[in-house]
């Protein structure tokens, strides 16, 4: 309540439950889910991150923050941080820019608008690992159709050996899947910009490019900001399937993001303590990132 709407405020304050237990019962399912799926695993990770297991997994010993020291001093880990930054920024920017472009184009479609939109939304229904496989098949150096085309055009395409190409491939695959989602939000945002504002700007002598950047873009900023948060989180966490299917983190760790490294160190290399320390760091990074986004980026966003 912001205090400006006295009726809404008082109405809500007066909604007192006669039963003392009922409110807690109503909250219980949500709280239970959060505890079981977030607080409990998170606290386990926190606990685990301070343990070190012996090579046979028979006993573990408390080592304090030594796991963290080891992880942060590991050049592989620092490389993974760099990879994650490149991957996340590229994926978010590419997914959002393309989605915005497609959404503005969809606005201009006169006939078959619904069909066009539906087709653009479909990729979102594809599971990350499947999306990864699709792109892998298309660009696999030995059997991919597009890889064949690229090579016959004289381009040395081999993402299995070239780290930059591998990165490009996972970025495109990850962005491709997220475009649909972003598209949907951008279409809705564009529709909510009053037509008369654009007409007024047209009369005010702004070209259509200028209208877009000075009127439309600032007005859809809340959506853009929301998508920025969502896409960053997506690139950080939900792209594991794509990376696993397309590159498996390689070649030579060129596409090993933080999440992928957590998995690799913990479940493949069975360094549970180090993996847990990494996931705690990852959690801190995402919390910090989201906080920063809300603190600084949101200030520049105009909510109508």
């Amino acid at each position: 309540m912001d205090g400006r709407t006295p009726f809404a405020g008082t109405a809500l304050q007066k909604a007192v439950f006669p039963n003392k237990l009922l409110p807690y019962l109503l909250l219980a399912p949500q709280v239970a889910i959060t505890i079981v799926f977030f607080y409990w695993p998170a606290s386990q990770a926190l606990y685990q991150s301070m343990l070190k297991e012996d090579p046979f997994g028979l006993k573990s010993q408390f080592v304090g923050l030594r796991n963290f020291a080891q992880v942060l001093g590991d050049p592989d880990y620092l490389n993974s941080v760099k990879v994650t930054i490149v991957f996340s920024v590229s994926t978010a920017v590419l997914a959002m820019a393309l989605a915005l472009f497609l959404a503005t184009a969809a606005e201009k479609v006169v006939r078959g608008k619904g069909f066009y939109r539906t087709m653009l939304i479909w990729p979102y229904a594809v599971a990350p690992a499947v999306a990864g496989l699709l792109w892998l098949f298309m660009f696999n150096p030995s059997m991919g159709t597009f890889a064949y085309l690229l090579r016959s055009a004289g381009y040395r395409w081999n993402p299995l050996l070239d780290g930059d190409q591998a990165m490009l491939l996972v970025v495109v695959a990850a962005a491709w899947k997220q475009i649909s989602y972003n598209f949907l939000f951008f279409v809705a945002a564009l529709q909510s910009v009053p037509r008369s504002l654009i007409e007024a700007a047209a009369i005010d002598g702004a070209s259509s490019t200028k209208r877009f950047w000075t009127i439309v873009f600032p007005l859809i900023a809340p959506t853009t900001f929301f998508l920025l948060v969502v896409n960053t989180v997506y690139a950080f966490f939900d792209t594991f399937g794509i990376i696993d299917a397309v590159t498996g983190g390689g070649p030579a760790q060129a596409t090993q993001t933080l999440v992928y490294k957590v998995y690799n160190d913990g479940f493949v290399n069975l360094d549970l303590g180090g993996s847990a320390a990494q996931s705690v760091i990852l959690m801190a990074i995402v919390i910090a990132l989201t906080a920063v986004q809300f603190r600084y980026v949101e200030k520049r966003v105009h909510y109508a």
Binding site: S196, L197, E199, A202, I203, D204, G205, P218, H302
Partner: protein, 358 residues
Amino acid sequence: MAKIELTDVRKVYPGNVEAVKGVSLSIPDGSFVVLVGPSGCGKSTLLRMVAGLESISSGTVEIGERVVNELEPAERDIAMVFQNYALYPHMSVRGNLQYGLKNRKMASDEIARRVDAAAKMLEIGPLLDRKPGQLSGGQRQRVAMGRALVREPAAFLFDEPLSNLDAKLRVQMRAEIRRLQRRLGTTSLYVTHDQLEAMTLADKLVVLNSGRIEQVGSPMDVYEKPASLFVATFIGSPAMNLLPVGEGGVPGVSASDHLLSPGGRPQILGVRPEHMRLVAETDATQPGDAIFELTVNGVEVVGAESFVYGGLPQGGPEVAVRVAGYSHLEPGTQVRAATSHDAFHRFDRESGRRIVVA
């Protein structure tokens, strides 16, 4: 400063829907022309065609001496005030005012001069650094006016600019718009569905009905000599009383044969409520007066005046009579109303056009 000339302008939407069916209209330089009509009559479409926001299916629109059919809105040298104001919500009031000038790459000292002048004229100086969201309806309206003003265009286009304001503010802004337009002498085209706005603002009133012009004239001309039944009922509140006249005259109305004779064609007689008066049984009526025998259905007290609504004995349309002050008549009371025969308007029953009595 420029005149605006519309020649046989048509608007056909896909699916062969004709919104504007051939409108020719001449708006002299510096005059204030109001397009009035019910919703869906094509008045906004017509205005938007002049603005360039709507393509012109056929006919020509000239602003100044230029045919502007193919010009972009920005190239037509017009400014428009929208019904919802269409202020840019993310810009300050100053930002809103100077947006159009900046787009035209005007020198910054000239921009500042114009913005300050407009702000002073509209008394929005203290609001320049606020955002539109922090303004009241009336203040937004002023800013919208200011944005049109700073451009110093050849013509102002108004699209129902006052319909989002409350009644009191509307009256105030109406007077202000009129005063500003007089002072600046800028050609203005104003669209409204509010007949009171139309009457008070216009130099020239254009009544539109389903895409066609019904009548063009000065407000008093239109009021006193409505060209058709449509205009007669649209302008004036309460609407003009209409009485279909058959061979046997109008039951319950006594008058000279001359008045009630259909004159060959079926007619409709019209008389405005203010041209009728209640008379006592004993009152001597003027020769040539028509006398109505009415049963009171209800009374509407406006304040300075009241309207008595009554029915004729044989049914038919209700008749409204204006009475000065407060009427205490109870429903069911029998009254007589009189009206002078020269207060009658005659319309052809088939075409609805006014019959000019020689």
